[in-house]
């Protein structure tokens, strides 16, 4: 049932849902992103891999507007979120523009960031009700379906501290999905999951891909990347070292650095 979509095909057929160009970002003088460009088309699933500290999370945070870029441009479909200014520094759009863009994407945090004072159910339905103003019955139906998909039955009325690590992560995935985003970012979505659940989450991600939801997934599980991604981007020291289909990058990397990284890993 897997929908095979090659990056090249897709680029030809549709305008990218999100496009980052030439992104630079430094923390207190230390460069973390050094001219990264990424373009993702509707329905595409992109896996971002690379060594720890290479800038993967920072990249995601810049694309989800949690960190500000120093230089570069960022577009969500027809929305110009960041454009390069005259002196090259990044110029952000109005807060309305940013709010509009935020409706297009969701993010699952590496540390989950569930709301500790809300039950799992409330965590999932609150934003759809409050931010999107959707119908309560409909939102709850969707939430229940998501809870089912994520294997969280029985946890609806628990608060986050009562959940196991994996349960927390799945709740936070369900929360992001319930907003029906066009693009979904994941920061290591399976890092706290056992293999069984990793399989479950993979199924959900595939289903989402079939529903034409674009996904950008930072992961360090090569098998997961291979399974789920249409395209793999290898990032190290704030640069895109190599990118292409999973078979290409993971199976037969052309760059020395990638090969080294993969060789030293377990899989």
């Amino acid at each position: 049932m897997r929908i095979v979509k090659r990056a090249e095909e897709m680029m030809a057929t549709a305008r990218p849902v999100v496009k980052l160009e030439n992104a630079y970002k430094a923390f207190g003088g230390t460069p973390v992103l050094q001219g990264i460009s990424i373009e993702v088309c509707p329905g595409e699933v992109v896996a971002i891999i690379g060594p720890s500290g290479g800038g993967k999370s920072t990249l995601l945070r810049c694309m989800t507007l949690l960190e500000t870029l120093d230089q570069g441009s960022l577009t969500y479909g027809d929305i110009d979120v960041v454009i390069p200014g005259a002196d090259g520094s990044a110029v952000y759009g109005t807060s309305d523009t940013l709010a509009l863009a935020r409706q297009r994407f969701g993010l699952v945090f590496q540390q989950f960031n569930l709301f500790p004072h809300m039950t799992v159910m409330r965590n999932i339905i609150d934003a759809p009700l409050v931010v999107q103003g959707r119908d309560r019955a409909e939102v709850e139906r969707q939430a229940r379906a998501l809870i089912q998909d994520m294997g969280l039955e029985g946890c609806e009325e628990k608060v986050p501290y009562q959940l196991s690590g994996g349960q927390r992560q799945r709740a936070s995935i369900a929360r992001a999905l319930c907003m029906n985003p066009q693009v979904l970012f994941f920061d290591e979505p399976t890092s706290a999951l056992d293999p069984e659940l990793t399989g479950e989450v993979l199924k959900v991600l595939r289903q989402l891909a079939a529903e034409d939801i674009t996904m950008i997934v930072v992961t360090h599980e090569m098998s997961f990347a291979r399974e789920v991604a249409d395209r793999v981007v290898f990032i190290d020291e704030g640069c895109v070292v190599e990118e292409g289909s999973a078979e290409q990058v993971i199976g037969n990397p052309s760059e020395e650095r990638t090969r080294e990284f993969l060789l030293r890993s377990l899989t």
Partner: protein, 212 residues
């Protein structure tokens, strides 16, 4: 004697209740302004808090009470002292509450703001739905301190002639040359503050259903 103190206590209670109702909400915008990124807004809030906390409430009460007369020559009516008293109390306590709110707000982990931001909550929604409920839990003991101080600060109302319990106790001590009215006043204060403590404790317990 007890009835006398009792009726003074009703006045104290009224000041207490009105001040809470006014100052607890008023402290929120002040705390937010205090943390604003806009420098003039932040400075205004800092100055406000600084003056309200930094000068004696008694003098603030004088200022509020007599300002209409001194500045505009408006004659005071017997009602005005009650109004002035409440205005001064609310303005003063809002300054204290604002700082407590700020301490709570700043202790909420960044991740909570980020999660709310990505989910599209507006700043107000983030504050009301995500931050404030968690802040409430964290600041309860400090808030209890301030509320209990307020109970006793009601005695300052007498500086502009609002006769509350403590001034009544003072008068009785003078008339009867015994410390007993003070003792009774202390007992009444303590009993009421005990109720406040129990109430605060109950709220704390109610919010104990979750941990960070």
């Amino acid at each position: 004697m007890v009835t006398l103190l009792g009726s003074g206590f009703v006045t104290s209670l009224a000041i207490f209740a009105f001040t809470l109702v006014g100052a607890l909400p008023l402290g929120i915008p002040i705390a937010l302004m205090r943390m604003s990124r806009v420098v003039p807004v932040r400075l205004v809030a800092r100055a406000y808090i600084s003056i309200m906390r930094g000068t004696p409430l008694m003098l603030q009460m004088f200022a509020v009470y007599f300002a209409p007369y001194h500045l505009f020559g408006i004659q005071l009516s017997p009602d005005s002292k009650w109004q002035a008293c409440l205005v001064a109390f609310i303005l003063n306590y809002a300054g204290y509450f604002a700082e407590i709110y700020r301490s709570g707000i700043q202790s909420i982990p960044q991740g909570q703001y980020e999660a709310a931001e990505v989910l599209g909550y507006s700043r107000t929604q983030t504050f009301m739905r995500i931050i404030l409920p968690q802040v409430a839990k964290r600041i309860m003991p400090a808030l209890g301190n301030e509320v209990i101080t307020l109970v006793k600060d009601t005695s300052l109302a007498f500086s502009i002639g609002v006769a509350e319990m403590f001034s009544t106790a003072k008068a009785l001590v003078a008339a009867q040359r015994t410390m007993i009215p003070f003792g009774i006043a202390a007992a009444i204060y303590w009993a009421f503050n005990f109720l406040v403590e129990v109430a605060v404790g109950r709220i704390e317990k109610k919010m104990d259903y979750y941990r960070d």
